[in-house]
């Protein structure tokens, strides 16, 4: 909405009483979006904790098993029975393969971190634009005779930031453990 130059700012503020009336609904909408996104960010952080904890436990198990099998291999190497050293070597390789599944946690956690970071950036943008909007509203009330095109610009910027925040959906990463995903051939 543009303010014709012949109309004073107080007239404009009065005429756009809808703009002030919709401030309460704007606050409610913003509050809902902020709460929803903060809850989502919190859940993502918990998800990361579970993934890290699961991966660490499993990697430690692989590490200890590989260490035991390596010790067995060393003992078996000196024994006349070749098959026992081959079996020990095979077990070491199996443990390393198993570890490769749990080492993938860095990819999952990395993706979650990116999603949470983007969510927090959107929250900050809303917070900054809300501050600017409130300042512009306060200036419009304090100086009603001054040109207040700033209010419209700040309101537009705030709406855009709010839309970005509301558009942030759930993370693509749904895993909460390092259990292997399924495999499907078409």
């Amino acid at each position: 909405m543009t303010t014709p130059k012949s109309i004073t700012t107080s007239d404009y503020v009065e005429a756009t009483s809808g703009a002030r009336d919709d401030i309460p609904s704007l606050v409610v909408r913003t509050g809902a979006a902020l709460k929803s996104q903060c809850v989502a960010a919190h859940e993502e952080l918990q998800q990361m904790q579970h993934l890290l904890s699961d991966a660490t436990r499993n990697l430690l198990d692989c590490f200890h098993a590989a260490a035991r099998d390596l010790a067995d291999y060393e003992r078996a190497r000196n024994s006349p029975e070749q098959s026992s050293s081959e079996q020990a070597a095979a077990r070491v390789e199996a443990n390393l393969l198993a570890a490769s599944q749990h080492l993938q946690f860095s990819d999952l956690v990395g993706q979650l971190l990116t999603t949470t970071e983007e969510r927090i950036d959107a929250l900050l943008l809303v917070s900054q634009n809300m501050q600017s909007l409130m300042l512009a509203l306060s200036a419009a009330r304090d100086n009603p005779d001054e040109d207040n095109g700033q209010f419209d610009a700040r309101k537009q910027a705030f709406f855009e930031a709010l839309q970005i925040l509301e558009s942030r959906g759930p993370s693509r990463v749904r895993q909460t453990s390092m259990e292997a995903g399924d495999a499907q051939l078409f």
């Binding site: 390789e93 390393l96 393969l97 198993a98 490769s100 599944q101 749990h102 080492l103 993938q104 946690f105 860095s106 990819d107 999952l108 990395g110 993706q111 693509r172 990463v173 749904r174 895993q175 390092m178 259990e179 292997a180 995903g181 399924d182 495999a183 499907q184 051939l185 078409f186």
Partner: protein
Amino acid sequence: MSKLVLSVDDSAAIREMLSFVLKSAGYKVIEAEDGMDGLQKALAQQFDLIITDQTMPKMDGITLVKALRALPQYKTTSILLLTTEGSDEMKGEGRGAGATGWLVKPFDPNKLIEVVNKVAG
């Protein structure tokens, strides 16, 4: 002669793990760090199998699959998507693009070898 696999993923850790697992099963592996890099490498030499992530910068996995299927030399090559996403919708998109299969991360190395041996072995 060892089969040649192209591994496409923006995660260095995933590329390393895939290489480790596939090499342990006797495959040769070339890595690419995003869809565009993957396409360029696929054009530079012929691969027996391509394994690609879905969400990557420059070009995503499904777009890469479509680009490869448009090439005569990759019309029948097995292409697997390996990704964190597992929704039926995404799998349907992958299938529609021409992918041979869909694996959800984290992959089980033994299962991966089984699948790879089946489609490219």
